[in-house]
Symmetry: none
Subunit: 293 residues, 2 copies
DNA sequence: GTCAAAATGAAGGATTTACTACATTTTCTG
DNA sequence: CAGAAAATGTAGTAAATCCTTCATTTTGAC
């Protein structure tokens, strides 16, 4: 259907600098091309009418008119399905080929909305404060919880520093033995079926005087008993696959909470991170995104 | 804003029969007028070019051009609010202590809903089919994209097998050299700023005859050009932190798509996985959740 | 049914827009 | 830094579109 974008994608490498600028308009705001003249598009892109037409030729079109017609057509198509409000809700039982995708996303939306309703601000604020107060943080999450754990570890390290990731007993179980004078916070992410090692670590940490922030499925979770702070997360099942969106959304609340606490300082850290990584790695394309980690 | 419809309402009584027909188009499908010529509107309404222009005069416009320009402008206004509702991004700095949590989650919901509206089923089905067809899969995602990449790798390995994770040139760049007779699929996850190494791997893979599925921010992404399949993902910024929920939700659509294709076999694989891991690791608590990985 | 007034359609002139050829600037390479 | 090649902009030509004029058809009142 989107013939134009497909052509741009394929030919993008062969385009000139000016033509790439025009591509941006064509991809992001195709309606501008649909209703404006070639000359105007030239003005909007700080190029010229001729360059716009040459851009069309590069994509294999006979000229601006043909490109414009194609965009007009596809926009009209879009318009067609604006009418009746998304019938996929009504025909839930009619298992058509394309509704499982909607179901997946709608389930995520539903759980996020549910999370929003149940949201206990006080609880989260306590958790956020505990993160801000902590001198040293250990994030633990084993098996599939390693995914969100690693993200949390990396992100906290970027905006705050002094964060460690526990990856297994063999590697690094002895943080607490070496620096017991510090105020440690253990953030444990665990869901059924709970790895025994996660519980073991949490209990050891607790007995060594560390604070524990548990992110888990509920009060009955084995790690909840040892936790000082408990964040309850209800996700679609199975959590290992379908739980990620909900889980990350709530983790992101934590991160944002830490960030707003000392926004200026965080900003400085991130910029520093950015400079360092620019030297270490090479990137391609414009850097309009503020990347860290 | 809707100057045109207002004029039609006021003047409707004074219009001729043909002009009333044209009014219907102008009110119901203004986009048709925005992109079509007066002659064509005449055809669509079974009237003539001249009548369309007289219709414009009746409304007080100098001619078709002026009416068309007015409609174009109002349609562009509409278009501005493309993408997820932007009100939370506008007030980025005005994040007060007690509303940021809601903002985070609501932003995620907004982007998911936007993704739902823009969802192109055909595109995803092609991607899913390519995954199902592939003999061997390599998942690549560097820097922060390593998080979703690792998840995708683990999950695909659980439900399908024969999946590899590319973690860097030093480790393992030579899959393709060793087994070129296989049908390889490279799944690349990359967002600005794009690591040069990701692009390099994608291009090498492409030149060695592998298929490439790109999961990235748009057609202009550097990895899109070499891609056979392109899944466009629009996330809150910065993507490294706030993008996860949206990204995982869409990745989960892929996974579900692969799972439904051969549900019985997948089920068997997962049970096997479960038995193995039960022997390797110890768990605590009831195992009502079907865990894998 | 007839005539007049209004509405409509067809065709030619005027204006805008798309396209092409040439001149100038920028970029690349040795 | 020089020369070549590519890219870009300007200006002039061809084409499409708009708009007006005039002939034809339709409508409505008596």
């Amino acid at each position: 259907m989107e013939q134009v974008k497909e052509r741009i994608r394929k030919q993008f490498g062969n385009l000139t600098a000016s033509q790439k600028i025009i591509s941006k308009i064509a991809v992001d705001k195709p309606s501008l091309i649909a209703i404006h003249t070639a000359k105007k598009i030239g003005e909007l892109t700080n190029t010229s009418e001729a360059t716009v037409i040459r851009f069309c030729h590069s994509l294999g079109y006979s000229g601006y008119s043909e490109l414009q017609d194609e965009i007009k057509k596809s926009l009209l198509m879009m318009d067609q399905r604006k009418g009746p409000i998304q019938k996929y809700r009504a025909t839930e039982d009619a298992v058509t080929r394309d509704n499982y995708a909607h179901q997946v996303i709608e389930t995520d939306i539903a759980f996020l909305q549910h999370g929003l309703q149940q949201f206990d601000y006080e609880l989260y604020q306590q958790a956020i404060d505990s993160i801000i107060r902590a001198n040293r943080i250990v994030v633990v999450g084993l098996r599939w919880c390693h995914i969100p754990a690693k993200w949390l570890f990396s992100t906290l390290n970027a905006i705050k520093g002094n964060t460690h990731l526990y990856t297994g007993a063999v590697d690094n179980a002895d943080y607490f033995l070496t620096e017991r004078d510090q105020e440690w916070l253990v953030i444990a992410i665990s869901f059924p079926r709970h790895p025994a090692e996660t519980i073991g670590l949490v209990q050891s940490a607790k007995s060594l005087g560390a604070k524990v922030l548990a992110i888990t499925e509920g009060e009955l979770s084995p790690i909840s008993q040892a936790a000082d702070y408990l964040l309850k997360v209800t996700t679609p099942q199975p959590a290992a696959t379908s739980g990620m969106p909900t889980l990350f959304s709530l983790l992101n609340v934590l991160i944002k909470g830490v960030m707003v606490h000392d926004a200026a300082n965080v900003q400085k850290r991130l910029q520093h991170y950015d400079e360092i990584s620019s030297k270490l790695y090479s990137f391609v394309g414009e850097d309009d995104d503020f990347s860290f980690y």
